[in-house]
Assembly symmetry: C2
Homo-oligomer: 495 residues x 2
């Protein structure tokens, strides 16, 4: 046992960048995840839960900001291995798909939900542990799998409470982007590793369009960019004409899907890979149209690239299109809540054999925040019925009352703090958001009755009612002890 004689006590604090979630925060997230899991399940996906800990070599290095020193993961050494907390749910899936490749159904459709960890500089609303909720299909080369993931994402958003019109799933294709890179002279099909660093910078720059605007992106495509804090981010070193090609690509979205596809064919169709990518986009749009997912829900949009380096084909992103008011009272678009794409090379890392795969990851905490901002969370925050303790020696009687209520399915508890101050008991009930308090002193016990205090009505009367109203509708009722459960049930239905 630790001795607490000395002056040094442990600090009661979460580590920097971590936080605790209480009550409704937990149950609201659970309700949302249950709904999304229901959609994934209906699409034929099976649950998978991998452990939080993986070997560093199995995780690989695929975080968007690979240029940072600690590489973004929490890691520690064990014997000859380095172990780390998973930073997403895709890397563990790739490991599972390789490890169990002879036992899993093929294609393998799985969903997974749980916390992931990033060893990043925490900021306001930016935590180092957060939830993801993913669905992936491993072993399906057809873009029908990508189209299906986009449709499922739209369904999931609607089912958790984002109405049609308040979101859009935007689809693009890395192959088109590669075609554009060829056109801009920073991808050589004969030597695919050349210019890899430049392309990485271009990818990350495009991904920051929302945040930095076209000028910021242009700076990153060129020499680099000095941000407000004075930090300088090195650019890709592209010449003006090269940067123009990339920027034209990002702005290629037309009024209709057909128009967008035509523009993309102009920009990237000369390259084999670019042309293939445009074909795939066209096919995805056709498949979605045939299932009734029109451009009001899912659109082709060349500005979507997704920062992660491992995508190889279609990429997609779900954006909420309504405005919310930020902490400073300013209106702003809510932005991205989910994203994904095709990553045909992740399993190959382990096995040497190409395995096509595609999937989506929902940013659970952002989507929850959106639902709260829209007033779409309807959790029951009502607290338990509190049986107060008037007479400490009759605890057994009070516990028997709570037991009876619970047997009838009513959430109930006995006040278990120090019962001396009755006011504290009512304050506690109030703090717990209790609808009713049950009271039985020795006088009531002798007469075989209990008092039931309606705390919701009591608060309302205290706030609003005149003296006459107060008398007409008392917030406290007396019932025979034998009728406790029936009376509580009746009162709960009223509140």
């Amino acid at each position: 046992m630790a001795r607490d004689k000395g002056p040094r006590r442990p600090r009661a604090e979460t580590p920097r960048g971590f936080r605790d979630y209480f009550g409704a925060e937990v149950s609201e997230r659970k309700a949302m995840l249950d709904t999304i899991a229901g959609v994934y399940h209906r699409y034929g996906f099976d649950p998978l839960e991998t452990s939080a800990v993986e070997t560093v070599e199995a995780l690989g290095k695929f975080l968007p900001d690979v240029d940072r020193p600690n590489e973004g993961v929490f890691a520690w050494q064990e014997d000859d291995d380095w172990l780390a907390l998973r930073y997403d749910l895709t890397a563990p899936l790739a490991r599972v798909a390789a490890q169990y490749r002879n036992d899993l159904p093929n294609p393998y459709r799985r969903y997974a939900m749980g916390p992931v960890w990033r060893n990043e500089k925490p900021g306001p609303g930016r935590f180092r542990q957060f939830y993801q909720c993913d669905a992936d299909t491993v072993g399906a080369a057809s873009v029908a799998a990508d189209a299906e993931i986009c449709a499922m994402l739209a369904d999931a958003l609607e089912e958790v409470g984002i109405p049609r019109g308040d979101y859009v799933v935007r689809v693009n294709n890395r192959k088109v982007l590669n075609g554009v890179m060829e056109a801009a002279g920073i991808l050589d099909p004969a030597d695919p590793d050349r210019f890899a660093q430049e392309r990485g910078i271009v990818l990350r720059a495009i991904d920051k369009l929302d945040r930095l605007g076209p000028d910021g992106v242009r700076a990153l495509l060129g020499e680099g960019r000095l941000d407000e804090s004075g930090d300088f981010t090195s650019g890709a070193g592209l010449a003006g004409a090269q940067a123009d090609t990339v920027l034209a690509f990002m702005a290629a979205r037309g009024a209709t899907g057909a128009e967008t596809v035509a523009r993309l064919r102009d920009l990237a169709g000369a390259s084999r890979i670019g042309s293939e990518g445009v074909d795939e986009l066209e096919r995805i749009a056709e498949l979605l149209d045939a299932q009734g997912y029109g451009p009001d829900r899912i659109v082709v949009d060349p500005s979507v690239v997704r920062g992660l380096g491992y995508y190889t084909g279609p990429v997609f992103e779900a954006e909420l299109t309504f405005e919310i008011t930020d902490e400073k009272g300013r209106p702003r678009q809510f932005g991205s809540v989910a994203g994904g794409g095709r990553y045909d090379d992740l399993v190959k890392r382990f096995t040497g054999q190409a395995v096509p795969a595609t999937g989506v990851s929902v940013g659970v905490d952002r989507l929850l925040a959106a639902l709260r901002a829209k007033g779409r969370m309807h959790t029951d925050t009502r607290g338990p019925v509190v049986v107060t303790v008037m007479d400490r020696d009759r605890m057994a009687d009070y516990q028997a009352m709570a037991t009876e209520l619970r047997r009838a399915g009513i959430r109930a508890e006995v006040y278990l703090g120090n019962p001396k101050n009755f006011g504290n008991q009512l304050k506690y009930a109030d703090r717990r958001n209790s609808p009713l308090a049950v009271i039985q002193g020795s006088a009531e016990a002798a007469r075989g009755v209990v008092q039931i205090k309606d705390l919701v009505l009591g608060a309302k009367i205290a706030a609003e009612a005149s003296h006459e109203e107060w008398k007409a509708q008392p917030a406290q009722t007396e019932v025979p002890r034998g009728e406790l459960v029936a009376a509580v049930r009746r009162l709960l239905e009223r509140t």
Copy 2:
């Protein structure tokens, strides 16, 4: 991106002692946790989710086997702090109770469920990440809080599917044990830190009674014990008469609760703390009796001590009393699935002020194993309806069929692997445990019909039926395309 040109590929393996959970393993655990959460909620407990990562100083050193070198946690350094994965859910609760002490309701009732991590030597069925599911009351000094936790534990076990008679919650009190330690001369109330190491060894020895038997415990109370592997565990160094006192305590359970309490009073009643403990046990038994939790469900049993060093009062343990057949075909008692107790000093570590607390932790994986052993898990393991792909160019039609089925609430998917070999598609459906396959070639499409193949019936017919039966009840039906959903629903109801 990692290059996979070189010979060195990452190994597709979980780290040693970790594992993956697939499909029904995940959904069965979720169903059980949801049920337990429902019971905890009905008792007035609110959910809390802390992060997996804590500072090492906040966690403290309370693992049962504190004598091991790496101290049982996964830890790493960050700047001046050491961070670690939580090893249980109680230490984080103590931190939360201290950190938010001015904001939380008092008493604070919370439940928590999630993985915890132990940096231990893995063994068969022994993993380094596992689930716990806890409920605790912080701020309630009365043993009414302990009695309530025991009743709730009994309710939770019954609600997940352990019938009355197949479990027992055994209750003891550390204060009684301390009284016995006084009687045995290894606890001096005037100098409570003296003999602390000996008492630790005694505690752990008693906790191993199930595994080692009385002789093994006696060896650990005395000079020490050599186990089968040749490892020597140092003992507490007690003389024969001292050990006799401890062993008499462990064997003090009588035929009735009253008899047990009387024996305990004989053994420990001479010490102030021992007498207090016996009073508390008597009180808990009374409270539980009054609520109808008799000795068929909750009993006083002095052999329960719980290994953890931080308990200060009542301790309890839920044991499953039925026999199961182990991996080697031998019958054995299932044993403990939950435990807990009162730990009045854990919050004090942070604040310096004593805060009474009591709670229980359910060993989720053991309880799940028990339910499976008893055949009490009834998860729907039926796979999705699989829409097969006869004609690759008509993918949009097949996806539309799956979409219609899902809209009707039916789990369905299109086969997304390579469609060339139709046999592989049916093998896939079989592997997914699909009840039905939908088939539409170009001939059927031209006629506006679909075939529905009953895979369950098909397998049964193949295995059992005579030729006549096979003709009378074909496993494949043809229906108009417009009646697909209705026909599938009808067939699913039949299977």
